[in-house]
């Protein structure tokens, strides 16, 4: 089984993150880049499926030179090879444009299954799986908390507030995963050493067959009009116990969908 995991490098979620005042784009220079957290779950699921079905895992990333760190980590975890889409002309591309680029590459390298994290911790659009599936003309099964593959049949548990839905599709397909699905492995030193020797193919904008006028900040379909700092945290809700404190606390938690 040919599995492609789409990986995005994002600013470290443990660091203070900001947008750049000059073009409202994410300030990626001043913080460390890491693999988007949910993408680590996608990689882990890809590796597990590959181990169970004698498959191969390819990492697909679009991003600047720095994104090669994330590629190396994904390879250290055990992925077999990687494709790095890198081109200055792609800078500032929005989700729609990114999906066009990734779909072109996916169409060329081929796949049985494409796996993504359900959303990124920077832009948090959560649309990439849907956009890719639409562009590639294959089923999208999203928010998977469990994945089973049997021949060309794909069965997932789709995470919902009330539990999960069982969803079926057939391969080839695109799935997005949630953090409940597994626990990503840490790369071992052996994996880190082995990653050095794994092939990473570099793909430019010209290689994708897309026109430079279709991608990048200037041609983006969406625009960040303005941004502001997050408002200070609101005072919490105080529940005073007048004999019914337990009920009130439970009602509050239920209202917030914690229970």
């Amino acid at each position: 089984m040919n599995i492609v995991v789409c990986v995005k490098q994002v600013p470290d979620t443990w660091a203070e993150r900001t947008l750049r005042p000059e073009d409202s784009r994410l300030d990626r220079a001043s913080v460390d880049g890491v693999i988007n957290e949910l993408d680590e779950y996608a990689i882990e699921e890809g590796l597990r499926l590959a181990e169970a079905h004698e498959g191969e895992v390819t990492i697909l990333t679009m991003g600047p030179d720095k994104a090669s760190e994330s590629i190396r980590k994904a390879l250290s975890m055990g992925a077999d090879k990687a494709v790095h889409v890198i081109d200055d002309g792609l800078a500032g591309s929005d989700a729609l444009q990114t999906s066009a680029v990734l779909a072109q590459v996916l169409g060329r390298i081929g796949f049985d299954l494409v796996i993504l994290g359900a959303e990124s911790t920077d832009a948090r659009m959560g649309v990439m799986a849907a956009m890719l599936a639409e562009r590639l003309g294959v089923p999208q099964v999203s928010l998977a908390s469990k994945v089973e593959v049997d021949g060309t049949a794909l069965r997932i548990h789709r995470q919902r507030d009330y539990g999960y839905d069982k969803v079926e599709a057939s391969l080839p397909a695109v799935i997005s995963v949630v953090e409940k699905i597994n626990e990503p492995r840490y790369p071992s030193f052996k994996g880190i050493m082995a990653a050095k020797k794994k092939p990473v193919e570099t793909v430019t904008l010209a290689d994708t067959g897309l026109d430079a006028g279709q991608v990048g900040l200037a041609a983006a379909a969406t625009e960040v009009v303005s941004f502001a700092n997050r408002p200070p945290r609101q005072a919490g809700t105080v529940v005073k116990d007048e004999g019914d404190g337990g009920t009130k606390a439970a009602e509050f938690l239920a209202g917030q969908k914690f229970i």
Partner: protein, 399 residues
């Protein structure tokens, strides 16, 4: 020219272990520490990461790494918690390393794979109640070989002799866990009264009749690590459990001591760095007299000193490790690294506790644990006095 620039792979290992310590160790370790409980689940996850096989070749299940890799892992673990770090250090540098270094091919194949995978832990039995720095002078434990040729072993076929061990060993790390595989015991195997005594290393598998594992000590620090007294009473192991040549036990131990000291230095630097990390966070959060703590020069200077100590101690262990990997003699550098790093750990733990004030005296805060864990670094694997003895001797100070 010795270079200790970290390779990309070593950097990635450091980042991986840092993330592991932050996400896996930090959330749970205070509870284990408080209960004095060995963290089997954390150790199992360290094993899965491959940490126990770091400096060993792949053919024995190792990771093909080096002392640098082990030191970086120890530093990043100890930055969060020293108990799990010393569990790793003792298992690798004291437990598995003698088997790898001095074992026969058969002994290596028999014991190393389990140790490299971290599924089992090995211990090293040297110290006795009557002898710490003065080993071998204070050693009382004996191992007597019964063979076909000896009176007690008459009638045995050749090679089917047995070592019969009697004595006790003190403060033995990893010796009483449920996953302990073996303990390498140094014992007197011959010599004459008044003359030099013959000391040899003998491997005693866990569960051997005659080996009694004592209760877990109540320790000031390292409370989530396993440290016990071992008693041997007519404890018998096969003749082929001798590790290395007979009479070479102590000399072999001295050979692997430098590596152990560098490993402990790395661990101590981790603790010193952990103190800086905690204080950086705290001085930004805590306010006093209308400002954050970080506003005050008394605090800023303390943190500057802590950082400088950590840095110099780190360079010292990097330098010693780089020399060792390059095959150069490191006795002096290893001793200096351990001395500097344990000093830095003690000083930083004291300063960090002071910066935290009353909270620093509470076990629930990491700096309180750091304070308790730091002291033993001036004692274990060669006291600071022993390090100074070595440095002065290597320096050629006339006496």
């Amino acid at each position: 020219m010795i270079s200790y620039a970290l390779s990309d792979e070593h950097q990635e290992l450091r980042q991986t272990v840092a993330a592991f310590a932050r996400d896996v160790v930090r959330p749970v370790i205070a509870g284990y520490y408080e209960r004095g409980e060995f963290p089997y689940d954390v150790v199992a996850r360290m094993a899965k990461l491959g940490l126990f096989g770091l400096p060993f070749p792949a053919e024995f299940g190792g990771m093909d790494g080096d002392l640098f890799a082990l030191g970086l892992a120890l530093e990043e673990l100890a930055r969060v918690d020293s108990s799990v770090a010393i569990t790793l250090e003792a298992a690798v540098a004291l437990g598995a390393m003698p088997i790898y270094r001095f074992g026969t091919e058969a002994q290596r194949r028999r014991w190393l794979p389990d140790l490299c995978s971290g599924e089992r832990l090995a211990a090293f039995g040297l110290t006795e109640a009557g002898g710490g720095s003065d080993i071998p002078g204070g050693m009382r434990t004996t191992a007597r070989l019964e063979t076909a040729g000896s009176a007690a072993g008459a009638g045995r076929p050749a090679g089917a002799g047995e070592w019969v061990i009697d004595g006790t060993k003190s403060f033995i790390t990893n010796s009483g866990t449920a996953i302990t595989s073996l303990v390498t015991v140094l014992a007197i195997t011959g010599g004459h009264p008044g003359g030099p005594r013959e000391i040899s290393a003998v491997v005693v598998p866990a569960g051997t009749p005659g080996l009694t594992v004592g209760r877990e000590y109540s320790k000031v620090g390292w409370c989530a690590s396993d440290t016990r007294e071992l008693a041997f009473a007519s404890c018998r192991v096969p003749e082929d459990h001798l590790l290395g040549p007979r009479g070479r036990g102590y000399a072999q131990f001295l050979e692997i001591l430098d590596e152990g000291r560098i490993a402990i230095a790395a661990l101590a630097v981790g603790l010193a760095q952990g103190c800086v990390d905690e204080c950086l966070r705290y001085t930004g959060e805590r306010a006093a007299f209308g400002h954050r703590l970080g506003h005050y020069q008394a605090i800023r200077f303390k943190l500057a000193d802590m950082e400088a100590r950590t840095h110099s101690a780190r360079l010292a262990w990097y330098d010693a490790a780089a020399r060792l990997v390059a095959g150069e003699p490191v006795k002096r550098q290893a001793a200096m690294a351990k001395l500097l790093a344990s000093n830095a750990a003690m000083d930083n733990a004291r300063d960090a506790t002071q910066i935290f004030g009353g909270y620093g005296f509470m076990n629930e805060f990491p700096v309180g644990r750091f304070y308790r864990d730091a002291k033993v670094l001036e004692i274990g694997e060669g006291t600071s006095e022993v390090q100074r003895m070595i440095i002065a001797r290597e320096l050629g100070v006339p006496d």
